[in-house]
Amino acid sequence: MAAVPMTHVLMVAAAIFGLGLVGVLVRRNIIFVLMSIEVMLNAAGLAFVAAGARWQQADGQVMFLFILAMAAAEVAVGLTLVLQIHRRFGTVDADAMSRLRG
């Protein structure tokens, strides 16, 4: 198996992470925000896996498993919150919910 330089993998991960970040910052629709977060988590996982491959250790992959578990939990809670929000406010606009204003 020919090898990919680790730097490249990390750059790809960073690029995808950056896209996720842009998504979080730009989108007002909460569903898109959640999706962008998934993207970012995924990018982080990619970096872990790359690191695991670099050192030939299973730890990197274990970390991805944990991220996966966390993502699942987060999405479950997040999406129910979206449901509730939609029910209460009738919208999925993140900017409409500013009750935390100081």
């Binding site: 970040l21 979080v24 910052l25 007002r28 993140a94 900017d95 919910m97 935390l100 204003r101 100081g102």
Partner: protein, 630 residues
């Protein structure tokens, strides 16, 4: 017998304590007995001690009674000790004797007052404090008495506290004298630091040993003590409180503001005369202050309408004579004048008190007149006092004491013609204003008949004091009139004699004749202006400059105005401006900036998740940048 010395101040203190604690429960007679009785007992003890002292004088010429050590710290150990010598004995006798007479007078005079027991409590406290002042062997203890009498003066001036005028007068008196007292305290600090003690005898000894004549430290100490004396004795420039102090009851004016407390400054200088001898420039200042004060106060006395204010200015003026005597080194002449002044001035006040009371609290002499038939006792005693004040030759005590001062001012090496002329002009003024009072009050047409009657308790003190005011001077007969200087001889154990300039010592008889003529001339002028030719007076005071001068003198040469503008108003202005404490504004500023910071930061809390996320991103960027570039 001498061992009972401590009882002299202790008995009045005990009287005061009883009256303070139980005064409300005692009946009026009880209060009178305790109040006047305690001073009477004190006077009797003082008299017995005096007899013992004169007949069997102690070996060193003085007697010291140590009670206890006040405090002992770091080499400084003031004692609570009493010292009896010729000087303090004379003062004690006058204070207790005249004090008792005034107390007796007060028992009748204050009869109808609500604060009867309070009055006597203060009066007894005053007598006790005054005796402590006189008997103190230590300057610190003297200072205790010094402040104590000031306190009582304040309490008694403001005795009728409901009227703010009285309370303000008391406050003014205390504060003005306290200015002098504070200077005196600084003098004490200097003495403690440089000489290590405040024991008067030790102090004098060490001062002579360590300081040369005219050395800066001696001058500084003498000047600071002089400041204290000037404040207490109402001399220039701290004389402004005394005329206002007349707001107090008349016996108070007689006792405190004429006979005793105001002469404490004279006593202090006489007591520490060694220091003043070491500082000739300050001693000259004493003489000049005395001369200036007696002239200024004499002019002011001429223009007053309120009989008590005339007497107040007169007191300032007479104490000026005492200062003049001290300044030229005629120590015992000053004390002699203190004694005769105590007699005739207390008398004048008490007699004036009778007049004022019988005239329904009328103070204005121009609204009195012709009272000599209705108030014979008051008239004759007042006349005796006024004659003594005017130094009517040969027959009055005032003549002998004032004459002694004038003669010694002329002949002393420290005196001279200029000071003598000032004294002579003062004497002329004195006899004018003294008889101005007599003529305005008792002669002329009856303007308003007196009411009520006065009992023996008012008259007996008047008569005794009148006798003393006449015969009190015979204890010191000058060389030209029998040469019996008993009083000076007695005091020479404690105070040195005056040093005469041989060139000027021979003219005593001529000087006395001049002084006598001046006194009589003054009486004649008073008769002419205020009784015989009132129109002349009116013509004299009609021109504008004369009127203005009259106002200026009546207002005490504008000192009150000056102090108000220079000291009081700036202080009040500062206090008013800084009432809310400018320093606190600094901390308010800190609190304000914290609040502003809170506002600014809380504005960033928009509640929008995306804004927060942007913040997070920015933070990540900055931190990463820091990692990269550092």
């Amino acid at each position: 017998m001498l061992g009972l010395l401590w009882l002299v101040p202790a008995v009045p203190f005990a009287g005061a304590l009883v009256l303070i604690l139980a005064g409300a429960r005692l009946r009026r007679t009880g209060v009178a007995v305790v109040g006047a009785g305690s001073v009477g007992v004190s006077a009797i003890i003082a008299a017995l001690i005096a007899i013992r002292f004169v007949t069997l004088p102690p070996a060193e010429g003085f007697f010291t009674q140590r009670l206890w050590t006040w405090i002992r710290v770091g080499g400084f150990a003031p004692e609570i000790a009493l010292r009896l010598d010729a000087l303090s004995l004379v003062m004690v006798l006058v204070v207790t004797g005249v004090g008792f007479l005034i107390h007796l007078y007060s028992t009748a005079f204050m009869e109808g007052d609500d604060g009867y027991s309070r009055f006597f409590a203060y009066m007894n406290l005053f007598v006790g404090m005054m005796l402590v002042l006189l008997l103190a062997d230590d300057l610190l203890l003297l200072y205790l008495g010094w402040e104590g009498v000031g306190l009582c003066s304040y309490l008694l001036i403001g005795f009728w506290y409901r009227d703010p005028v009285n309370a303000n007068a008391g406050r003014k008196a205390f504060i003005v004298t306290r200015v002098g007292d504070t200077a005196m305290a600084v003098g004490l600090f200097l003495l403690v630091t440089r000489l290590g003690t405040l024991d008067i005898q030790g102090l004098m000894q060490r001062a002579v040993d360590q300081w040369a004549i005219g050395s800066p430290l001696a001058v500084a100490v003498a000047a600071l003590l002089l400041a204290g004396a000037v404040g207490k004795s109402a001399q220039l420039p701290l004389q402004t409180w005394l005329p206002d102090a007349m707001a107090g009851p008349t016996p108070v004016s007689a006792l405190i503001h004429a006979a005793t407390m105001v002469t404490a400054g004279v006593y202090l200088i006489a007591r520490t005369h060694v220091l003043f001898t070491l500082a000739p420039s300050v001693q000259l200042a004493v003489a000049i202050i005395g001369a200036a004060t007696l002239l200024l106060a004499g002019c002011s006395a001429l223009t007053q309408h309120d009989i008590k204010r005339v007497l107040a200015y007169s007191t300032i003026s007479q104490i000026g004579y005492m200062f003049l005597a001290l300044g030229v080194g005629a120590w015992s002449a000053a004390i002699f004048h203190f004694m005769t002044h105590a007699f005739f001035k207390a008398l004048l006040f008490l007699a004036a008190g009778v007049v004022i009371a019988r005239m329904d609290d009328e103070h204005d002499m121009f609204k009195m007149g012709g009272l000599r038939h209705d108030l014979p006792v008051a008239f004759w005693t007042f006349l005796a006092g006024a004659a003594s004040l005017a130094a009517l030759p040969l027959v009055t005590a005032g003549f002998y004491s004032k004459d002694l001062i004038l003669v010694e001012t002329w002949s002393s090496v420290l005196g001279g013609p200029w000071l003598w002329i000032a004294g002579l002009v003062g004497a002329f003024l004195t006899s004018i204003y003294a008889f101005r009072m007599v003529f305005l009050t008792f002669f002329g047409t009856l303007q308003k008949p007196p009411t009520g009657r006065s009992g023996w308790r008012l008259h007996v003190p008047l008569i005794i004091l009148a006798i003393l005011a006449v015969v009190g001077g015979f204890v010191e007969l000058p060389a030209t009139l029998g040469d019996r200087p008993y009083f000076s001889d007695f005091l020479h154990a404690a105070l040195p004699a005056v040093v005469n300039d041989a060139a000027r010592a021979g003219a005593i008889a001529r000087l006395q004749i001049v002084a006598g003529l001046v006194s009589i001339a003054g009486i004649y002028v008073a008769w002419a202006l205020f009784l015989r030719h009132r129109s002349l007076l009116a013509r004299l005071t009609r021109p504008r400059p004369a009127r203005q001068l009259h106002h200026f003198w009546a207002a005490g040469w504008g000192f009150d105005w000056l102090y108000n503008v220079v000291l009081v108003q700036p202080f009040l202005w500062f206090v008013d401006v800084d009432r809310r404490d400018a320093i606190d504004r600094v901390y308010d500023g800190i609190a304000w900036s914290a609040r502003a910071g809170w506002r600014a930061l809380s504005a960033t809390e928009t509640g929008r998740v995306r804004t927060y996320a942007t913040g997070l991103t920015l933070g990540a960027i900055v931190i990463t940048a820091i990692v990269i570039f550092l």
